[in-house]
Symmetry: C2
Subunit: 217 residues, 2 copies
DNA sequence: TCGGCTAATGACTCTCCGGTCAGTTACCTC
DNA sequence: GAGGTAACTGACCGGAGAGTCATTAGCCGA
């Protein structure tokens, strides 16, 4: 009907093999974030990506492989950038910590949390996925934060602490806060994420302050 | 065949209407904890409970109602006991905090986390479940911890902080730690939960210490 | 403009699982 | 024991969704 007046293209679809992969990945991220792994239908992903289900299977062998590709493409670049910044920044350890928390929250936390949510929920059913995530994401993330802690301790900016567990105490509340906004938060008053970060950061700095030096605020 | 030699009871099954409900609840908790909500089949629950699927539907109208009943029976009694203890204990606020963390971890954290995992993962697909959990569990839990914080601040044992967000900073790392052991932790070296709690508690106490008084350790 | 290559479609199959219900069987009472 | 009742079974239904494949149709080179 109205199609007739369309000027240049009356084609129902176009061949665009190069663009498909990123488009499908973006669509899949969106769907997985919204519905989890088993809650997402391949038909939905296809619809969001503007193709049909059959096409998905030209680019990815199955649902699990699609999910792995989503994780890889969404998480790894960001982690690498952060690692680089930390390695070459002249800032103090407390400043670096603040930077990490803020950057993380402002750029990719929602994405990371959507993915974490799925991993937490479905790792029991998909061991390969779990192992992949552990090695590629968790290990690197903990290492990054642990590095900043070590640096601070060496420089005397932090008291001496259990690196691994403290790193977890730093990362996990932020993760949970975002998990929250993406799950139960949908049905309660939303929490102010940057204020939460502030409260958390302040608790941390005081908790990490060196023994004797009652640092001026 | 061999049935004939069975001494006292040749019956294939027995009528035990009183015992069924708790048995089904226990079986369901176990299954849900292992496989999540959508990952658990009613047939599995039935098998673990030693009945057939049809029987489940004599006691619970559907899967969602069964899950709600599981949550109710597993979480609420514990919460109430804790509330009572806090209300009538003569301890200081830091002591109460330590007690809460320890008690929680040692008694029911694994159960709570199994449930939280499901809620986090599937609240998007089951809004009723989410709302139920918010009102019955989360609100009360936060209120409990928030109460201890307020107490501490009034008494001058803690500095003045944002109650709600700080309560979250107290609870969430513990939750995440246990979520961890029940998901990715299955594939990595396990973390020492009581040492984690220790590190977390120490960070908290220093982070909450009153402004001026550089409290002795 | 024609032919062939392959990206893309969409209707199909097959399996899995929540929920149902007619029938079976344990138990209780007389 | 005979009969009545309600606890319990298990075969069944229907819908949903992962994965398949024969067919269609854009694109490109000659």
């Amino acid at each position: 009907m109205a199609e007739i007046t369309a000027p240049t293209s009356t084609a129902k679809w176009r061949r665009r093999p190069e663009e498909r992969t990123p488009e499908i990945l973006a669509a899949a991220l969106e769907c997985f974030a919204k519905g989890g792994f088993s809650g997402t239908r391949m038909d939905d992903v296809a619809a969001v990506a503007g193709v049909t289900k059959g096409t998905l299977y030209l680019y990815f062998p199955n649902k699990e492989a699609l999910f792995e590709a989503v994780v890889r493409s969404a998480v790894l670049p960001v982690l690498e950038m952060a690692q680089e910044h930390v390695a070459q920044s002249p800032d103090t350890a407390p400043e670096l910590l603040g930077w990490l928390l803020q950057r993380w929250q402002e750029t990719t936390l929602p994405t990371h949390c959507a993915i974490s949510k799925i991993i937490i929920a479905e790792s029991a059913s998909f061991p390969d996925l779990a192992r992949f995530y552990l090695e590629e994401v968790v290990a690197r993330g903990l290492h990054l934060v642990g590095g900043v802690l070590k640096l601070g301790i060496e420089r005397g900016e932090f008291r001496s602490v259990d690196i691994e567990n403290t790193a977890r105490c730093i990362v996990w509340p932020m993760l949970m806060a975002n998990l929250w906004t993406q799950s139960l938060g949908l049905y309660a008053e939303t929490i102010d994420l940057s204020q939460f970060r502030q409260t958390h950061y302040e608790l941390l700095l005081r908790g990490l302050a060196p023994e004797s030096a009652a640092e001026r605020k």
